[in-house]
C-alpha cells in the first residue's frame, strides 16, 4: 500500500489540518518551541500507547497501564526519598523492571489461567491503586522531598527538546525495530491476525500475549518514572483514568481492536493528535469539556474509518468452501 493512501498519511493530514485551524486563532501555538513542548508533554501518552499497541495487536487489552504507571512512579519516588543519590540510570532500570514485573502478572493470568484480558487488567488496575495507598499511606510525595537530579532529568533540554521527549523518540524507534525486524514483533501480528493459523504455524499464542503484557508493563513503568519526575509529585490517583486516553490514542492511530492490524507510526500519530487537542483547546479558549467531546468524536471517526477500509478489502476467503458437502 502506498503511503499516500495509508491510514497514517490521512492521520498526518488531519494533524496538519488541526494545527492549521489552531494557528488561525492562536498563531503562537505552531512555533517550534511550543510544538516541542507539546510533544514533550505528550511523551508519556505516546510511550504508554506504544505498549498498549502491542497488547491490542494480540487481541488483548491492558487497562492497568495507568495504575502501573502510578504504582511504579510512587515506588521510584519513595526510593528517591530513601536514597536521593541513586543514579537516575538505575532508577530508570528499576522502573522498567518493576513495570515489566507488573505486566508479567497480567500476562501470566491471561496465558496460564486464560482469564479474559479485560477482566484481568480491570482487577490488577484496582489492585495496583490499592497497593499505592498501602505503600504511601495515602500521603503525597512532593517536589521538595525528591532530589533535584531525580526531577530535573526528564526536563533537561537537549537540542531544543527535553530528555523526556528524546526518550519517547528512542522508545518509538526501538518499538519500530522490534515490530518490523524481529520474529517476536512478527509473531504479535500473526497471533492477533489469526490465532488459529498461528497455532498451526508453531507459534505459542499465550506466550506472545504474555510478552505483549510484559512490554506494555515495562513501558508503563518507564512512563511512571518520567511522569512523577516531570510533575514532581506522586500520589494515589496520579494518571487516574489515563488508560482510556491510551486506548483512544491506539484506536485513533489505526490499531484494530480486533487485533493483528496497526503500526508504530500510526500509534505515535494517534497520541500526537490527542496531545495537540489537549494542549491547544485551553489556549484557543475552548472549555476542557470540548476536549473530551473532540477526543470521543475522533475515536468514533477513526473506528468508522477503519471498519470501512477493512470492508472494502477483498475479504471473501473461500466463501465457496461453505458449499462443500
Amino acid at each position: 500500500m502506498s503511503f499516500v493512501k495509508s491510514r497514517e498519511a490521512i492521520l498526518l493530514a488531519a494533524i496538519v489540518l488541526l494545527l492549521g485551524l489552531i494557528a488561525t486563532r492562536f498563531p503562537a501555538f505552531i512555533t517550534p518551541h511550543n510544538l516541542a513542548s507539546v510533544y514533550s508533554d505528550t511523551t508519556p501518552l505516546m510511550i504508554l500507547a506504544l505498549g498498549q499497541m502491542v497488547v491490542i495487536l494480540t487481541r488483548c487489552i491492558d487497562l492497568s497501564v495507568a495504575a502501573n504507571l502510578a504504582l511504579t512512579g510512587m515506588v521510584c519516588a519513595m526510593i528517591n526519598v530513601a536514597a536521593p543519590d541513586l543514579p537516575v540510570g538505575l532508577t530508570i532500570l528499576i522502573a522498567l523492571t518493576m513495570g515489566a514485573a507488573l505486566g508479567a502478572i497480567n500476562g501470566l493470568l491471561v496465558w496460564k489461567l486464560a482469564i479474559p484480558p479485560i477482566v484481568v487488567t480491570l482487577g490488577t488496575m484496582t489492585i495496583f491503586r490499592g497497593v499505592i495507598f498501602l505503600l504511601s499511606d495515602g500521603q503525597w510525595i512532593n517536589a521538595h522531598e525528591m532530589s533535584a537530579t531525580f526531577t530535573g532529568f526528564p526536563r533537561q533540554v537537549v537540542l531544543g527538546v527535553t530528555v523526556m521527549g528524546w526518550i519517547g523518540l528512542a522508545v518509538a524507534l526501538l518499538m519500530a525495530l522490534l515490530m518490523a525486524r524481529t520474529a517476536l514483533g512478527r509473531s504479535f501480528f500473526a497471533v492477533g491476525g489469526n490465532p488459529h493459523a498461528a497455532v498451526y504455524t508453531g507459534l505459542n499464542v499465550g506466550r506472545a500475549q504474555f510478552l505483549a503484557f510484559v512490554i506494555s508493563g515495562a513501558l508503563a513503568g518507564l512512563a511512571g518514572y518520567l511522569w512523577i519526575a516531570r510533575y514532581a509529585v506522586a500520589y494515589v490517583d496520579i494518571a487516574g483514568g489515563f488508560e482510556l486516553e491510551v486506548v483512544a490514542a491506539c484506536v485513533i492511530g489505526g490499531i484494530s481492536i480486533a487485533g493483528g492490524v496497526g503500526s508504530v507510526l500510526g500509534t505515535v500519530l494517534g497520541a500526537m493528535f490527542l496531545g495537540i487537542v489537549k494542549n491547544a483547546l485551553p489556549v484557543v479558549d475552548i472549555s476542557p469539556f470540548w476536549q473530551l467531546a473532540i477526543s470521543g468524536a475522533a475515536i468514533l471517526i477513526a473506528v468508522t474509518f477503519n471498519a470501512r477500509s477493512g470492508r472494502s478489502k477483498g475479504r471473501v476467503i473461500l466463501k465457496s468452501a461453505e458449499h462443500a458437502q
Binding site: A183, A190, Y200
Partner: protein, 511 residues
C-alpha cells in the same frame, strides 16, 4: 444402471425443487437439480461429500437463495427469502447440530422465536408449557417441559430439538444426519418417531451416509453427484450396489496428473495412535516419494488424527517414528522442527493470516532461517518467498500484497508455500483442493506429484473420490475413528472406497 425415472412433474409432491441452480465463486454447487418430497413418505437424499446435499437443505430452509430454478410447494412456485418464510410455509429442519440454549427450559427452547403471547404481548408461559408438553407427547418423549435443558441428557436434548422443529405447523421435515450422535437404542426410537411423522402425513427428507438406515426407513431416494441430479426412484427398486454406482458414477474422468513415483524407504511409521474420543489404534507407514490418501466420510476422524500427529492435541497412546527415530511431538513447533507439516483444510481460519502480506505469511514458520543475530532480513524473506511462490505459480501484484486480497486458489498457494519453505520430510494436505477452482486444482495436483517425485512424502486427506483415486499410491479408509481398510492397486475402486467408508462391507461382487 438404475438411473431411476426422471423427475416426474411435481404431481402429488408436497415440496419439489425444479432445476435449482446455486453457484458460489468459482464453483457450481447445484446444477439444475431435482428433488421431490411426498406426503407421508421418507425420501433419502444420497450423495458423496460435496454432492450438494447441505446446499439443498440450506435452500429449502431459506438460508441460501437459488440462482435459478423453482421451489414448488403443492405445485405452486414459492420463494423462501428468509428462514422465517421457510418455516412459515411448513418446512422445518432438524440439523446435525441444532443450537439449543442450556439455561432455558425445554418449553422455552421449543418455542424460542415464536412463543405464544398473552393479549398484553407478553409470553404466555402456561400455554407454552402445555403446547410443548403436547408436542413432546406426540413424539413419545417423556420430558417435563419445565426443566432446564442443561439437566437433560444428550438423547433427550435431541428430542427437544425435534420438538422444536415440530413446533411450527410442519408439513416437510428435513433430517440432516439425525443419527450421527445417537446410540443404537436412541436410533431405534428415532425410527419410531419417523414412522409417527409419516403417519401424520408429513413429507420427510432424510439425509444419511449410512446405507442400513436408508434402506430401513426410506420410501424413495434421490441421488446427487457433484451438484447434479443423478437419479431418483422407489427404494424398493434398487440395491445398495446400484446406489453406490450412482453416487460415484463416472468418478475418474477428471485428469489427475499423478506421475509414476519412485517410492523409496520408509519415512514415517505411526503405531497404535489413539485418542480418548476421536480415533483409535491408527497404524500405518509412509514411504519416501509416496502419496498416501486418507479417505472417509466427514467425521471419520481423519483431520482429528492429523492434528494430533502434529501436536495440536495429544494422543492418549501411540508412537511416531520418523526415519527410524522415535519422535515425541507435543506442539506444532516440534512437528515443524521434526519435519512434519500440516496444511489445514480451513485455510481462512487455520491457514493464512489475511491481514499480513504474502511474504510474511510464507516466512512465518521459517523466521529463524531468515534472521541474523535476532533481526529479520527482509531481502532474505523476499528471496525465500519468491523461491516457493514462483514454483507454485502464484500470481500477485507484489509479495507485499495482503493475503486477504488474493483469490482462494492463490491463498491456498501461499499456505502451501509457507510449509514447503520449512523443507519438510512429510507434508499433510487436508482437503487440498476444497473450494478452489478447476484451474488451481489441476495446478495443486500437478505440484503434489512433483513434490512426491522429489522425494517428499505426502499424506492427502480428501473426501473427493476422483482426487483420491487419481493422486494416491495407496489409500487408507477411515470410519468412525478407525482404519477401515488400506487399499492399493486393483482393490482401489470407487465402490470399495465408498463401501469401506460407509461400513457396508465388501461382500460379493457389485457387478
Amino acid at each position: 444402471m438404475g438411473t431411476g425415472q426422471g423427475p416426474v412433474a411435481a404431481q402429488g409432491a408436497v415440496l419439489a425443487l425444479d432445476r435449482i441452480i446455486k453457484t458460489f465463486p468459482g464453483v457450481t454447487a447445484l446444477d439444475q437439480v431435482q428433488l421431490e418430497l411426498h406426503a407421508g413418505e421418507v425420501t433419502s437424499l444420497i450423495g458423496e461429500n460435496g454432492a450438494g446435499k447441505s446446499t439443498v437443505v440450506k435452500i429449502l430452509t431459506g438460508i441460501y437463495q437459488p440462482d435459478g430454478g423453482q421451489i414448488l410447494l403443492d405445485g405452486e412456485p414459492v420463494s423462501f427469502p428468509t428462514a422465517q418464510a421457510a418455516s412459515g410455509a411448513g418446512v422445518t429442519a432438524i440439523h446435525q447440530e441444532t443450537v439449543l440454549f442450556e439455561e432455558l427450559t425445554v418449553a422455552e427452547n421449543i418455542f424460542i422465536g415464536h412463543a405464544p403471547r398473552t393479549r398484553f404481548g407478553l409470553i404466555d408461559t402456561a400455554q407454552m408449557r402445555r403446547r410443548a408438553g403436547e408436542i413432546l407427547a406426540s413424539i413419545g418423549a417423556e420430558i417435563d417441559p419445565g426443566v432446564k435443558l442443561k439437566d437433560l441428557g444428550i438423547a433427550s436434548r435431541h428430542l427437544v430439538a425435534i420438538g422444536r422443529a415440530l413446533s411450527v405447523e410442519a408439513r416437510v421435515v428435513i433430517m440432516d444426519e439425525p443419527t450421527a450422535a445417537l446410540s443404537q437404542k436412541e436410533i431405534e426410537e428415532l425410527y419410531e418417531l419417523v414412522e409417527t411423522l409419516k403417519a401424520q402425513g408429513k413429507a420427510i427428507l432424510f439425509i444419511s451416509h449410512k446405507f442400513d438406515e436408508i434402506f430401513r426407513i426410506s420410501d424413495r431416494y434421490t441421488v446427487f453427484r457433484d451438484g447434479q441430479f443423478v437419479g431418483a426412484g422407489k427404494i424398493a427398486d434398487v440395491s445398495e450396489g446400484d446406489l453406490v454406482k450412482m453416487m460415484v458414477g463416472r468418478a475418474v474422468d477428471q485428469i489427475f496428473p499423478k506421475r509414476a513415483a519412485q517410492v523409496g524407504d520408509e519415512v514415517l511409521k505411526v503405531v497404535g495412535y489413539s485418542h480418548p474420543t476421536e480415533f483409535e489404534d491408527i497404524n500405518f507407514t509412509l514411504r519416501r516419494g509416496e502419496i498416501l490418501g486418507f479417505y472417509g466420510l466427514v467425521g471419520a476422524g481423519r483431520s482429528e488424527f492429523m492434528q494430533s500427529l502434529i501436536g495440536i492435541t495429544r494422543p492418549s497412546k501411540g508412537a511416531v517414528k520418523l526415519e527410524d527415530h522415535v519422535k515425541v511431538i507435543r506442539s506444532p513447533a516440534e512437528a515443524i522442527e521434526a519435519g512434519i507439516v500440516y496444511v489445514p483444510e480451513d485455510r481462512g481460519k487455520q491457514g493464512a493470516i489475511l491481514d499480513l502480506p504474502i511474504f510474511q505469511n510464507v516466512t512465518l514458520p521459517s523466521l529463524r532461517e531468515t534472521s541474523h543475530r535476532g533481526f529479520l532480513r527482509l531481502a532474505e524473506e523476499f528471496a525465500l518467498t519468491r523461491q516457493y511462490t514462483e514454483r507454485l505459480d502464484l500470481r500477485a501484484a507484489s509479495l507485499d500484497t495482503t493475503v486477504g486480497s488474493l483469490s482462494g486458489g492463490n491463498q491456498q498457494k501461499v499456505v502451501i508455500a509457507k510449509w514447503l519453505a520449512t523443507r519438510p520430510k512429510v507434508i499433510i494436505l487436508d482437503e487440498p483442493t476444497k473450494g478452489i477452482d478447476i484451474g488451481s486444482k489441476a495446478a495443486v495436483h500437478e505440484f503434489m506429484s512433483e513434490l512426491a517425485a522429489e522425494g517428499l512424502s505426502v499424506i492427502m486427506v480428501s473426501s473427493e473420490i476422483p482426487e483420491i483415486l487419481g493422486m494416491s499410491d495407496r489409500v487408507i479408509v477411515m470410519r468412525e475413528g478407525r482404519i477401515a481398510a488400506e487399499l492399493e492397486g486393483d482393490a482401489l475402486t470407487p465402490e470399495t472406497l465408498v463401501r469401506h467408508a460407509a461400513g457396508i462391507g465388501v461382500k460379493g461382487e457389485a457387478a
